[in-house]
């Protein structure tokens, strides 16, 4: 139980991120929540690949021993790149929305409804 600390953290920040996304009205804040959620998923992936007492999966000058799982790290790398691409694109969208609507409040960005 006490060893599960990273996973518990994953749960906590996932929910914080989701709650930020759901309850905040500011688009920038929503994107920050999305960032937090992304980081939570990345941390989850890294945590499931950790082996107790393991070392990084790099043979250069390493001591002999158990190594942590390399695949989750590869997956996380991919996921981080995707995350930054998404964030950049969404921020560009937000600036265009502000230029056209004069606000970033989701309550007022609802030209498309019904």
């Amino acid at each position: 139980m006490i060893g599960n600390l990273p996973l518990i953290t994953v749960g906590l920040i996932t929910v914080i991120g989701l709650f930020t996304i759901v309850s905040k009205r500011n688009l920038i804040k929503i994107l920050m929540g999305l960032n937090i959620f992304e980081a939570a998923v990345n941390l989850f992936l890294i945590s499931i690949g950790y082996r107790e007492g393991g070392i990084a999966p790099i043979y250069t000058n390493a001591v002999q021993g158990l190594m942590v799982l390399p695949t989750p790290q590869a997956l996380t790398l991919t996921s981080i790149v995707i995350g930054v691409a998404t964030t950049a694109m969404l921020l560009a969208f937000v600036t265009i929305i502000y230029r056209n609507y004069g606000t970033v409040d989701t309550d007022r960005i609802r030209e498309l409804r019904e």
Binding site: A56, I58, Y59, T60, N61, A62, V63, Q64, L77, V81, V84, A88, L91, A92, T95, R99
Partner: protein, 157 residues
Amino acid sequence: MQLSRIVRTAADILYPFILIFGLYIVIHGHLTPGGGFQGGAVIATGSVLLLVAFRYSELTGDLRKGWMKIFESGGLLLFIGTALAALLVGGVFFFNWLANTGSLFGIPVAFGPNPGEIYTAGVIPVMNLAVGIEVWGGLSLIVMYMMGDLEEGGERS
């Protein structure tokens, strides 16, 4: 307005350092922590540093969108071209056709912990370089677009 002279001088001096360090990370991707994406992001952060230290309009001579676009596309084409070249030598898409052949980047590596030799790992260094160039172009372009839009006043044209 921009940041003070001190910061600009520091940015000037740090820029080549960041560049060579990023290239070091890129090219040593198969030996040390890092790789194409990380190194490319480091180099791109160098461009981002220049963009914050100087005005975007001051940089147009040295940091051009057109070049960055070419880097981006060229890096990706190199990447996918390396992968497609495997079809010509009889492998499968993304087959590591240079590894353990003894030619360029094809020195067989000893198993277990060793200091590492840069001419190993087959297509991995090539792909690292390709991805590094692509990420450099891509991430720089994003910030350049945003800064350029900011300095034009952000009005609709």
